[in-house]
């Protein structure tokens, strides 16, 4: 007997990557919600701590990551119509921009360390390090995923990899205003 087609069958990539994406969004969402809740208890302290961040650097990083997401989307489209070589270049470029993001992030962390700011300095920085650190770890994983799916060049896998990368992108677009900009 045929099982009726479910909406799950029409998901791009694979059901499991969407289980992961939803789980990640729940975790980052809960992290940002907790950040905002704790911020209510000490708005002045949070604002003062926030002044130590590089807003321009993080803003530039937003451009880097969004551009990278666009390249990954192009790669996914290219591999679907059989342009494997072009898709590989686009995915590799997306991964390279991921590395640029990590390099800028590294400079930011190094600067914090130089100022003697650590994870226990202030609740703001506990969340800052936890959330951006978890995010950076996902960028690093995403770079590897993009390179892996580019190498294998299968449309379904590229779709799944690109979907993961868009999640990393989306999370950053939420993290950036909440942690760096919100006054």
């Amino acid at each position: 007997m045929d099982e009726a087609r479910t909406p799950f069958d029409d998901l791009p990539g694979d059901l499991m990557i969407w289980v992961l994406i939803v789980s990640e969004l729940l975790v980052f969402g809960a992290g940002l919600a907790a950040f905002l809740a704790v911020r209510l208890t000490d708005p002045a302290g949070f604002a003062a701590a926030q002044d130590h961040l590089h807003r321009a650097g993080a803003g530039f990083n937003t451009l880097v990551l969004v551009t990278s997401g666009w390249l990954a989307a192009l790669g996914a489209r290219a591999v679907e119509v059989g342009h494997i070589a072009r898709a590989r270049w686009q995915l590799a470029a997306a991964a390279a921009l991921g590395l640029v993001f990590l390099a800028i992030k590294g400079v930011e962390y190094a600067d914090k360390a130089a100022q003697g700011i650590g994870v226990e300095t202030h609740p703001f920085f506990t969340f800052y390090y936890l959330i951006t650190g978890f995010h950076a770890a996902h960028v690093a994983a995403g770079v590897l995923v993009l390179l892996l799916v580019a190498l294998r060049g299968r449309p379904r896998e590229v779709e799944a990899g690109a979907a993961f990368w868009h999640m990393v992108d989306l999370v950053w677009v939420l993290v950036f205003p909440v942690i760096y900009l919100l006054r």
């Binding site: 289980v19 789980s23 907790a34 994870v119 226990e120």
Partner: protein, 465 residues
Amino acid sequence: MKYQTQKIALAYFVVAMALFAVQVSLGLVLGWIYVDGNFLSEILPFNIGRMLHTNSLIVWLLLGFFGAAYYLLPEESEREIYSPTLAWIQLAIFVLGTAGVVVTYFFNLFEGNFLLGKQGREFLEQPLWVKVGIVVAALIFLFNVSMTVLAGRKTAITNILLLGLWGLALLFLFAFYNPSNLALDKMYWWYVVHLWVEGTWELIMASILAFLMLKLTGVDREVVEKWLYVIVAAALFSGILGTGHHYYWIGTPGYWQWIGSIFSSLEVVPFFAMMAFAFVMVWKGRRDHPNKAALLWSLGCATLAFFGAGVWGFLHTLHGVNFYTHGTQITAAHGHLAFFGAYVSLNLAIISYAMPILKGRDPYNQVLNMASFWLMSGGMVFMTFTLTFAGTVQTHLQRVMGEAYMDVQDQLWIFFAMRFGSGVAVVLGAVLFIYAVLVPRREIIEPGPLEQDRIAHDPDHMAAE
């Protein structure tokens, strides 16, 4: 029974049920000590009794898992077990080790001896020689089941089951590492304790539950496997970093409070998914399986695991809450219903499914077994409520009002008395279960005219046997 070596499971299940009887009987004794603090204080000090209660639980659950693996792997991989002899040696080591622990602790033999004497680390109290025995037995088991699966058909169920069993055995190795720094000691201790029950054991649970659903409901393997993968992904995603909810107050850095709170809150997801899975499979089912007792235990397992592990776990997992409830009777309430729902019920489900087949009594009436489900589960749920109320009162008096521990314990007496009553129901239920799967050879309740008519005239209707 399609494969002769499935018979190995019978011995594992029988030993497991014997230890189950020991475990709940000791529970009853401990429950009475809460009512009358001096009961047996010379012969069986509370700490020894408590160690025997928890360790016999862990050992019988493990023996149940091993039995389940020996039962289901031949059917799944379509092969006889690689070596029945190794399986018997493994069981013998476990029985010897268990007897060794009981004798060593009961008579306090070899005091201070590093190899033979007691060890005080909670749940890992086994003397060193027993720990080594456990590792040897686990290696024999893993070799045996891996060789079976490698030679045969590989399914999602066999893969997840093996992943869980390998993870279980490897994580036990942290039992040998005991740093003198108390914070580090606790940190690694949870690698065994938490990553067992909220990690690898969940994989074992999900795969055994998937096997039961496959057999009992006849739903397509493809559908069962999809659910299984989602459940396992959710369990590992939330459970591994969920370890952080044990790192709030042991001396680890403060950021663990957020990692633990967020990830462990998500631990409710796989348990909800397992409950949804079990009920959806029955709903979509295309087989009216005669073993209603196994189905009852499977659904009961998924439901009580969701409440015991999921809801009662979430109840005190956020660090703001746990700051007040840590180590109160709230923890005991959660511990009892979580273990009963998730792992005891699961073992009793696979035992209920396999025993009639293993003993060649298929089909037969399991009404006594089903009665034991309601008796045991009812008792356990009542116990969970009494302990939850006790814990709530305790949290307020002790942690909010600052009253002394023993003064508070006095005021909790009524809850402990009621808990003892519910313990009696659980023990009676356990004894009834063991009797029901081992002894009766014929139907206990004859079907009435309505049921007989349906059996005679409705070709789709299967008798509840």
